[in-house]
């Protein structure tokens, strides 16, 4: 595995959980798949469509998101929204993330 491939794998590992956190917090306001994809990208959480959609489904199955179909416009869209359980999870994840960031800053070694 070349150095860039190894780097990509490690970066992917590092970022894997942050997509969940970002979705839960962004979906405090109801949003749909593609809109969320764009917003995540704009905010620096690069995600693929084929990762995001299964992720949304999984969170819905776990009860962290609720969904409903919006048939107002020509194209029916499924809107997701963070549930109360999801909000609690988002808070827990954010707190943990801050703790990890602080722990990293406290690490000795090269900067």
């Amino acid at each position: 595995m070349s150095e860039t491939e190894a780097l990509d794998t490690h970066l992917q590992e590092l970022r894997r959980g942050t997509a969940v956190l970002a979705c839960l917090r962004l979906l405090e306001k109801p949003g749909y798949g593609y809109g969320l994809l764009e917003e995540l990208s704009a905010r620096g959480f690069e995600t693929d469509a084929n990762t995001l959609y299964p992720l949304l489904r999984r969170l819905e199955k776990q009860g962290h998101l609720t969904s409903e179909w919006n048939t107002d416009e020509a194209r029916p869209r499924k809107f997701y929204r963070t549930s109360t359980a999801g909000s609690r999870l988002a808070t827990a994840l954010t707190d943990d993330f801050h703790a990890i960031a602080a722990a990293i800053d406290a690490l000795p070694g090269t900067n």
């Binding site: 749909y32 593609y34 693929d48 084929n50």
Partner: protein, 321 residues
Amino acid sequence: MNTTSLTERYVDAAMRTVPEKQRDDLGTELRASIDDQVEARVGNGEPHDAAERAVLTQLGDPDKLAAGYTDRPLWLIGPRYYLTWWRLTKLLWAIVPVCAAFGVALGQTLAGASFGEIVGSVFSVALAVVVHIGFWTTLVFFIVERSAHGADAGLVSPWSPDDLPEPRQRGTGLGDLIASLVFLAVAAGAIVWDHFIGFGWTPDGWASFLAPELWPWWIGALFVLMVLEALLAISVYAKGRWDIGSATVNLFLNLTVAGGALWLLSQQQLINPEFFPAVIPADSAQTVSTVVSTVFGFGIVAIALWDTVDAFLKASRARRG
């Protein structure tokens, strides 16, 4: 709208592996998502077809996408059950084909098949057994993997240090030495008893199992070999392990004993011909004597083979350890 558009075909392909009740919901959502992405690209100036193609390419294999949606395992047997499956399969492969081959060979010999037929049927049966074991064990674990919807089926107990394989130098302890010597002594005693008194009761007195002509020279040779076996057992105990030298000596001893016995058996000189008519009614005596001779022969071969292989296995384990 062109009903066989790329998008439609993609959504149809993805929904094939999705269970019925989720299909509409998922299908609509996927179609909307693709349309949104294509629209965004077209808004940036790409032609529609190229945009559609690019979006679908990025989404990837529709079956893979659907599996991500439905949490369907894309493997036969996953890491949770893999070791259990492999250990069980190895164990079955080590035991069952050998037994089956042995049984088939025995049966074919008793039925009077030619050597070529015996070899052919042994080979085909052994191969069939190996394949069947591999298939059915894998199938069972395939089903188990998918049965508990991703939860643990409770098949694999947590590992503890008690599960560690035993230390390598087995079969060389005092217990083994005593067992070997006792066995040899009992065998020698049985042979002597058989000659002087006999094992088969007839109205005329006792009849011996082994042919009387074998005494004294053949039996004497057998006793010499037994003494050598005892010496080998003592040397293995003293050295504390089997090595290739001991295993080779063991091989030669087994070859001599088994070879001699089989040769005598084939000459009808091993078993006392008086024995069977004395012990069983006359009309079935011939069949029984043939059967017993054959079974005896197979038994000799099996024991000799097992003992030799076992010694070599222990030697190779000792060498590695």
